[in-house]
């Protein structure tokens, strides 16, 4: 009995500690939201006001005029969607070949591709830049789209793992039926790996959407910037005028799409991360 009681008290204390931690985790983001609704002068109120008396949604209208926010979102969408859709297709096709088809030296090739995981982007960015500069692609979205659409080795790796656990008999039957290999992929394999593809796709999308280093290297013109660069510029330009509500409103807009995707798919995302991390 006393043991049970002790556990209960411990649980309560832990619950309290976790709640306090959760407040610390969420407080900066709530503050960001609250600041975006304030008047410029209320930002500097001491002690800070969490719920402004005079809620002002105006900044959410103003930001669209204050910088190329809309084109930023468009550019980020163009990059993320084309990279993830085409890249997922090429990656899952390759994963199918690596896991289920017979090809001489395919495991050697696979290990070769895996070596890419060990080379950090900063070690590649200078030659890549000079390559794309030679093609006249600087200040276009192409250098951000073209390399990744050839396939993502992380995705290939996880889909291959997933496929290896699927019995070969599924394929053998299709082989006997004489269906083409691409037909096998679209009719049998892809429907099977869909959940794994979806999880990897979401993670990849978030990675591309939030990328900063590659866009900052290639993009200069205001109408070419991605959303991440746009808010970084908002920050640099409007901090001088101490227009923090404007900056925070723009940052909220940059956060929102991912937040919505996450809240909708949070169960799948959290599960797939737990699995991929433990296995990786």
């Amino acid at each position: 009995m006393s043991h049970k009681k002790r556990t209960k008290i411990a649980d309560m204390l832990i619950f309290a500690a976790l709640s306090a931690g959760a407040v610390v985790m969420i407080a900066p983001l709530l503050w960001m939201f609250s600041t975006s609704l304030k008047q410029k002068s209320d930002v500097f109120a001491l002690p800070p006001v969490w719920i402004p008396a005079d809620i002002n949604w105006g900044k959410y209208l103003e930001i669209w005029e204050a910088g190329p926010l809309l084109t930023g979102i468009q550019n980020s969408l163009i990059i993320s969607l084309s990279v993830c859709l085409v890249g997922t297709f090429s990656s899952s096709l390759a994963a199918f070949a690596f896991a289920k088809l017979r090809l001489a030296y395919k495991n050697v090739i696979f290990l070769l591709l895996l070596s890419a995981m060990m080379i950090p982007y900063p070690s590649l960015m200078i030659p890549q830049f000079s390559m794309f500069a030679g093609m006249g692609w600087v200040d276009t979205l192409l250098p951000l789209i073209i390399p990744p659409i050839f396939g993502n080795i992380v995705m290939i790796f996880f889909l291959r793992q997933y496929l290896i656990n699927i019995p070969n008999s599924v394929i053998e039957a299709a082989k006997i039926d004489g269906s083409s290999f691409f037909g096998m992929f679209t009719k049998i394999i892809f429907p099977l790996i869909k959940p794994a593809v979806a999880a990897q796709l979401i993670l990849w999308f978030m990675g591309v959407w939030n990328d900063y280093l590659a866009p900052i290297i290639y993009l200069n013109s205001p109408e070419k910037l991605t959303i991440q660069l746009v808010i970084a510029n908002f920050n640099a330009n409007y901090a001088i005028q101490t227009d923090y509500p404007l900056i925070m409103a723009a940052s909220m807009i940059a956060l929102l799409p991912m937040l919505v995707v996450f809240l909708i798919f949070q169960r799948q995302i959290i599960e797939s991360i737990a699995i991929s991390g433990v296995k990786g």
Binding site: F15, F44, L113, F150, Y212, L213, A232
Partner: protein
């Protein structure tokens, strides 16, 4: 990675058999094998070409460029190991390397906190799903937006951090303008952002530990600390290892926060990281040869760390599924 290796070996076997078989039996089957191989080759062609053009070639080019003086546009003048020699005397490179390593101190702190959080969440308490979601939100948030937010939160007079500190009676510094506090400031933010990810992986590992282990230990009279030391810690060790390595690899490439929060590299260059310095040299000063040298050194460091991961992971036989 361990699973990958094991499976590669497992996979190799049937493959060898298959090709042997196809040689032995009728011509018809070998035709089919050829067809299959051709399809497989076409399917892997895209990532293979991508790898050759966008990874292997730039990588080799980087190594070559690291031995040249090059502004990115004109001709590349071979200068031998001059750039590498220069690295040793370059005060800014020394500082950026020191800053990068210094900020990795945050890694064990973050992991310890996230393990504690995961242990808390592994108990039968209400609201665990909500907690998981809340702790994970910073992970999915855009680093640029988070950096903008924290730059404001670190404001010396009006920032959230100092206002919170003043509640407990501490007069906080102007975090990002002070060379002693700018690195801890970036570290704290990185811990805050990464906590949810490590916590989630730890939680997955903890949930796979059979409860019977703890029950047996309790019967034997082991106290809470002993149970942690002898059961929990060894069982989550592979995850700890994975997290340490991925955090080191990520930490070695830190750039966004520095670029946004301290655009000049901080007071006395005290927050500039290696990647920040590479980026400045390559794209602001157009010293692409020298920047390539630094990127090769950085790549080498990361390569060694990754190699250690592969090696040590091979040795640990424990696996969660």
């Amino acid at each position: 990675m361990e699973t990958a290796k094991v499976e590669v070996n497992k996979n190799l076997q049937p493959n060898v058999d298959a090709s042997k078989n196809s040689k032995r039996v009728k011509k018809k089957k070998s035709n089919f094998y050829k067809k299959e191989s051709r399809a497989a080759l076409i399917f892997i062609l895209s990532p293979l070409i991508g790898y050759l053009i966008f990874t292997l070639y730039p990588f080799l080019f980087s190594i070559y460029a690291s031995f040249t003086a090059w502004n990115g546009l004109g001709s590349m003048n071979f200068v031998g190991i001059d750039n590498y020699v220069k690295l040793f005397t370059d005060d800014y490179f020394g500082r950026s390397l020191f800053n990068t390593l210094f900020m990795m101190v945050g890694i064990p702190i973050g992991l310890l906190v996230s393990l504690m959080l995961a242990m808390g969440l592994n108990r039968k308490i209400p609201g665990t799903t909500t907690f998981r979601v809340i702790y994970y939100i910073p992970v999915i948030s855009s680093l640029a937006a988070i950096s903008v937010l924290w730059q404001w939160a670190y404001n010396g007079d009006y920032g959230l951090v100092n206002q919170f500190l003043s509640v407990i009676g501490i007069d906080g510094p102007n975090w990002l303008q002070n060379k002693d506090t700018v690195k801890p400031a970036l570290m704290i933010m990185a811990i805050w952002k990464g906590l949810g990810f490590s916590m989630l992986l730890y939680l997955a590992a903890l949930q796979s530990v059979p409860r019977i282990y703890y029950e047996a230990a309790e019967l034997d009279g082991a106290n809470a600390f002993q149970r942690f030391k002898n059961i929990t810690w060894p069982m989550v060790k592979p995850v700890t290892f994975f997290l340490v390595i991925t955090n080191i690899i990520g930490g070695a490439q830190m750039f966004t926060e520095v670029n946004i929060m301290t655009p000049t590299g901080g007071p006395e260059y005290s927050s500039a990281t290696v990647v920040f310095y590479i980026w400045q040299k390559a794209f602001n000063n157009l010293q692409m040869g020298y920047a390539s040298t630094m990127s090769v050194v950085l790549g080498l460091i990361i390569f060694i760390v990754t190699l250690i991961q592969f090696k040590l992971n091979d040795r640990s036989s424990f696996e969660i599924d």
